[in-house]
């Protein structure tokens, strides 16, 4: 049963007036013919408003093209069509030999890689992706009652914190092999301090940066702004000037001192005596303010050995754990039933349009054709 994912695209059918207008027989600029026997011509009464078209076959071809284009816009699908074959999905990194053996024993099952796009299972494993999310996506694209078997290596990489809740029971089969670890992109911190060098907290922050192995660059308040990847240290008091707020709003992270006045935020770092820092969003960036002065008396955490790490965690949260043993990773059932889209007809439609366009060009550029629209 055909259907449309985007029925508004059928509004493109209004474009059929274009070829109709092109092919409308233009009588207003018809060539003038001297015809002395006009009185016998005029004696034939005839409705003037009759609409006529030139070159009807070409017009039909062009109308067909426009209709096909409108259908393509509406993203046609064939709803009734489902692939009922059982599905074997292989995690990248699972042992290929065992996977092929499992596939051979599964009969007519479809084998896919669990990677974005779900390519057919083959020799070369494509790069892995967020597997929990992919399992959910795969479940939602399969018809109900299609058996799903997941072939996983002993240790999974790239899972998220929750076990997937799927619409069908899933058989998880653990194979040999190991998934490639997902390299978490960790960027080295770099601090760019702006403001008077007399701030008492400066030496603590410089020491923390040294402890983290991060760069530290102190410039006067009116120096050019650092790149967005740096952490901006604003040492001034009062309200931050416009260049600072603009820089933060365009996606940067700034650390300000207790004497700086910014809108109150949420506490993101606390110790036994109370909040240490609070953060507030600004545009696409983030403003983090120490609520206490950076002195050992006011902030004993400065003296702790893990202060640099705590500061780094505040500025650059560590990646969440994504490794799990396959033993305990069993997707649960009870998820929402798949809303099955059906077979996407866009490819075939595009092919038909290309073919129709070629035919249209051929017809329209024939040498026998008169000089017409």
């Amino acid at each position: 049963m055909p259907g449309f994912l985007f029925p508004l695209g059928l509004l493109g059918l209004l474009a059929v007036v274009l070829p109709l207008a092109i092919h409308l027989a233009r009588r207003s600029d018809a060539d003038i013919i001297d015809f002395a026997a006009l009185r016998w011509l005029r004696a034939a009464p005839r409705p003037r408003a009759q609409i006529r078209f030139d070159e009807v076959p070409l017009l039909l071809l062009r109308l067909l093209l426009v209709v096909l284009l409108a259908l393509l816009l509406a993203q046609p699908i064939w709803r009734g069509w489902t692939d009922r074959r059982p599905v074997l999905v292989v995690f990248p990194g699972a042992d290929l030999v065992e996977a092929r053996a499992a596939l051979a024993s599964a009969g007519d099952a479809r084998a896919l890689w669990l990677t974005p796009g779900f390519p057919d299972f083959g020799e070369i494993a494509p790069p892995a992706g967020p597997v929990s999310s992919l399992v959910r996506e795969l479940d939602s694209t399969l018809a109900a009652q299609v058996p799903l078997t997941i072939l996983v290596p002993g240790v999974l990489q790239g899972v998220d914190a929750e076990l997937p809740r799927l619409s069908r029971p899933v058989q998880v089969r653990i194979l040999e092999g190991a998934m490639p670890a997902l390299a978490a992109p960790v960027e080295k911190l770099a601090f760019a301090a702006r403001g008077p060098a007399t701030d008492p907290g400066l030496r603590w922050l410089r020491a923390a940066a040294t402890g983290l192995g991060a760069g530290f660059d102190l410039q006067p308040a009116d120096a050019p702004m650092p790149p967005q990847s740096s952490i901006l240290l604003w040492l001034g008091s009062g309200t931050p000037p416009d260049p600072i707020t603009n820089w933060v709003a365009s996606g940067g992270t700034a650390l300000v001192m207790a004497q700086t006045q910014i809108p109150a935020g949420t506490t993101v770092w606390r110790d036994a005596q109370g909040p240490i820092a609070e953060a507030s969003p600004l545009g696409r960036g983030r403003l983090i303010r120490f609520v206490r002065p950076l002195t050992p008396a006011a902030l004993p955490a400065l003296l702790e050995p893990d202060f640099p790490q705590a500061l780094a965690a505040l500025l650059q949260p560590p990646p969440e754990p994504a490794r799990v043993s396959a033993e305990g990773w069993q997707p649960r059932t009870g998820g929402p039933a798949p809303v099955l889209a059906g077979l996407d007809l866009s490819g075939w439609l595009g092919l038909a349009i290309a073919l129709g366009w070629l035919i249209e060009r051929w017809v329209a550029t024939r040498s026998r054709r008169a000089a017409r629209p």
Partner: protein
């Protein structure tokens, strides 16, 4: 229109044709037109000096022997046949087919007039031309001979299709010149009522009238398949129409109008023929003057 108004092949076929008048056939006697006085110089009129173009046999050699100068004997021509070529020069005559835009109705009419003049000249008859236009009549008085033929050709080449058919009141000079038993050939498309009326009146006044209707191929076949803007060249009226739609209706109505015209002409004893622009010029002439035609009316 070439340098010669008469195409060579037509000129060749003209030799077999003779201008014949119905009434002339009534007169008893010998010869083609049963003239009472045939040939040049039977009834002496005058001497005149020789001019270039005169035939040597016209020279009076005895007078040359006496005077040492060439004199030509002129005689009264009493041939009963006088041919008047009436050429319709209204704007509708300028119409040409799109397939052959250089050959207009007027070109065909001029060719026919030249053919008629040639025929008349060949048999020594006098012939004249009246160009009918509402801007005024252009009359070449009847005469005979090579010079008259050249005068005719010269006048024909000056004709421009313009305006409408003259009103009957403008036709006074015509009645002054066309004698009671003259042969009148009217070349027109006969779309204008005035043309038919003129033919009828001439016939009613005892002139023998021949009508040659000149039609374009488009009027006969109506080969239009697209939408066109049809314009009447005389009134300037325009009609937007699609050829396919108009065709059947036009052809039937036009045929009916032709039949009615033919009936009117027949009723007044006007011999008529039709020339379509894709036909040879001598087709209507053979139809009118072909062998036996004169006799079958007598």
């Amino acid at each position: 229109m070439g340098p010669d108004l008469i195409p060579p092949d037509v000129r060749g076929r003209l030799r077999t044709l003779r201008l014949t008048a119905r009434r002339a056939a009534d007169l008893q006697g010998l010869g083609l037109h049963h003239s009472r006085a045939r040939g040049a110089g039977l009834e002496f009129a005058q001497y005149r000096g020789y001019e270039r173009g005169d035939e040597p046999r016209m020279i009076d050699w005895k007078l040359y022997a006496r005077s040492g100068k060439f004199f030509v004997r002129e005689s009264e021509r009493e041939s009963p046949l006088r041919l008047w070529i009436l050429l319709d020069a209204s704007a509708s005559m300028g119409q040409a087919d799109r397939a052959q835009p250089t050959r207009s109705r007027l070109d065909a009419a001029m060719g026919l007039a030249a053919c008629l003049g040639q025929l008349a000249m060949n048999q020594g008859d006098r012939f004249g031309l009246v160009v009918l236009s509402d801007a005024g009549l252009n009359v070449i008085d009847a005469a005979d001979g090579v010079r008259q033929r050249d005068r005719l050709a010269l006048a024909l080449r000056a004709v421009e299709p313009r305006g409408g058919f003259p009103a009957l009141a403008q036709l006074g000079p015509l009645w002054d010149r066309v004698g009671p038993s003259d042969l009148v050939v009217l070349l027109s498309d006969f779309f204008d009522e005035g043309t038919v009326t003129l033919a009828e009146r001439l016939a009613a006044a005892g002139r023998e009238v021949l009508a040659i209707q000149i039609l374009s191929v488009e009027e006969r076949d109506f080969p239009f398949a697209q939408g066109h803007r049809f314009r009447d060249p005389e009134t300037g009226e325009e009609l937007l129409g699609d050829g396919k739609v108009l065709r059947d209706e036009f052809l039937s109505r036009f045929a009916a109008a032709q039949t009615e015209l033919a009936a009117r002409l027949e009723h007044d004893g006007i011999r008529h023929a039709r020339l379509v622009l894709d036909e040879a010029l001598d087709v209507p002439l053979r139809r009118l003057f072909g062998s036996g035609h004169a006799d079958e009316y007598s």
